[in-house]
């Protein structure tokens, strides 16, 4: 345990400020590239995860015995640290965008399945009975009753998954991606260059909060009834 590999740095070095416009102006190209990569990885991962997770949740809500195994498997997977997952995926799939995406999708999947399933389970049985009594078939029941009523749960899952994915993208720098994560590492390796590290960190948090806000707005658009209820 005698490895004191982390160096101490003087707390106030005028050449190494916490924030610098100079840095942002001179590096707008690499910042732009990091932003693009970060957004692309996040959006792709969430889109793929949602496309798998929502149907999976629907199946799990219909087939009772499937719900248990799906939830416990997702729990076990969630216990695995991200770096360890990429350590298994990296050598297998190489340093490709596939590796980064597979890891991100796996974690996002869990949050979405879990919450979508909770949402689907909370659809009142009476409402479904009434719909069936009115002559709704299985497809209509799904599209017009189950999914709209489970939307708050699905949206919560998407929000949690998106915010964690934005943070998790930084870890994909171990397989040569990482968006702003790579910027943080570069800053760290260039003599603890603070403006770069600080800016990339703030960019990550801002990006996560922006995505979250967009999803909240999407929810308002998709669920006008929840807005009306709050207004009364």
């Amino acid at each position: 345990m005698a490895f004191l590999v982390v160096r101490a740095v003087p707390a106030d070095d005028p050449r190494n400020p916490w924030f610098s416009w100079e840095y942002i102006r001179q590096n707008s190209d690499s910042i732009q590239a990091a932003l693009t990569q970060h957004v692309q990885l996040t959006v792709l991962a969430i889109a793929i995860a949602a496309a798998i997770a929502i149907p999976l949740a629907i199946v799990a809500s219909r087939v009772r015995w499937l719900a248990g195994p799906i939830l416990s498997l997702s729990g076990v997977l969630y216990t695995i640290p991200s770096l360890a997952l990429f350590a298994l995926l990296g050598p297998l799939l190489g340093l490709t965008v596939r590796t980064a995406l597979v890891g991100l999708v796996m974690y996002a999947l869990l949050a979405i399945v879990r919450n979508a399933l909770t949402g689907l389970r909370q659809v009142p049985a009476e409402v479904r009975d009434a719909a069936r009594g009115m002559g709704y078939g299985p497809a209509q029941l799904l599209w017009r009753i189950d999914l709209p009523l489970a939307l708050p749960g699905i949206l919560t899952g998407l929000r949690i998954a998106t915010v964690s994915t934005v943070a998790l993208v930084t870890v994909t720098s171990i397989v040569s991606y990482g968006g702003f994560g790579m910027e943080i590492l570069t800053g760290f390796n260039h003599d603890f260059y603070r403006p770069q590290i600080m800016f990339a960190t703030l960019a990550c948090v801002t990006l996560a909060l922006t995505f979250d806000l967009l999803l909240v707005l999407l929810g308002k658009v998709l669920m006008p009834w929840s807005r009306r209820r709050r207004a009364t």
């Binding site: 345990m1 490895f3 982390v6 695995i80 297998l92 190489g94 919450n115 998790l168 590290i197 960190t201």
Partner: protein, 249 residues
Amino acid sequence: MNIGRILSDAMTWLNDPLNWTNPDGILARAAEHLFISVCALALAFVIAVPIGVVLGHTGKGGGFIVALANLTLAIPTMALLTLFVVAGFGAGYPPIILALTVFGIPPLLSNAYLGMREVDPDVRDAARGMGLSGAQVVGRVELPLAVPYILSGFRTAAVQIVATATLAAFVNGGGLGMIISRGFGLGLDSGGGQVVAGGLIVIVLCLTLEGVLALAQRALTPRALRQGVRRMPSSAADRVDASAAAAKP
């Protein structure tokens, strides 16, 4: 690369005794990993549980706890680790331990808060009616009833911190993640086996810890309270949700 070759490389690496006993081998790294984690967990517990108990007793600060949990979800672990190291919180382990503490606090805080809030108001009223003071209500009634929640928070935080400690490798901060990052540093052709071996060790450690703590939690929870912990539905975003409080390491 094919799975067979990678796995056999990993097994070869794991079978070399020197990789276990080297000064920066598996055993030393595991000791380092656990040392960092235990310090962070103890610190997070000492900070978060008293605050959670007080806030839960008074019923204030629920919004603050949700906001804090959401914020830590949005801050990348690796960013905080880097910032703390660069901020010069001393050399060596302290910045790493502090960063991990930050990620251990939300599950402990929200569970302690939730445990205190979930105490049946009738029980609290009865205690007040019997003439117990505020501090006595906390010490003799609320806190004992909140134990299952606090244990659950401890388990989540412990697994969270041990998992997150892997990321200390990004800032050369030690722990088992170093085996993985060094392997990547060698390039996947020669270091691939080491990378996979490191990943497997970390996964085994985390799953074992989760299992052991689940058993310990069961054993430590008073029998009368075992049915008491209801899992909060994670879609209840506006409530303090104990399960969503953990950021993904």
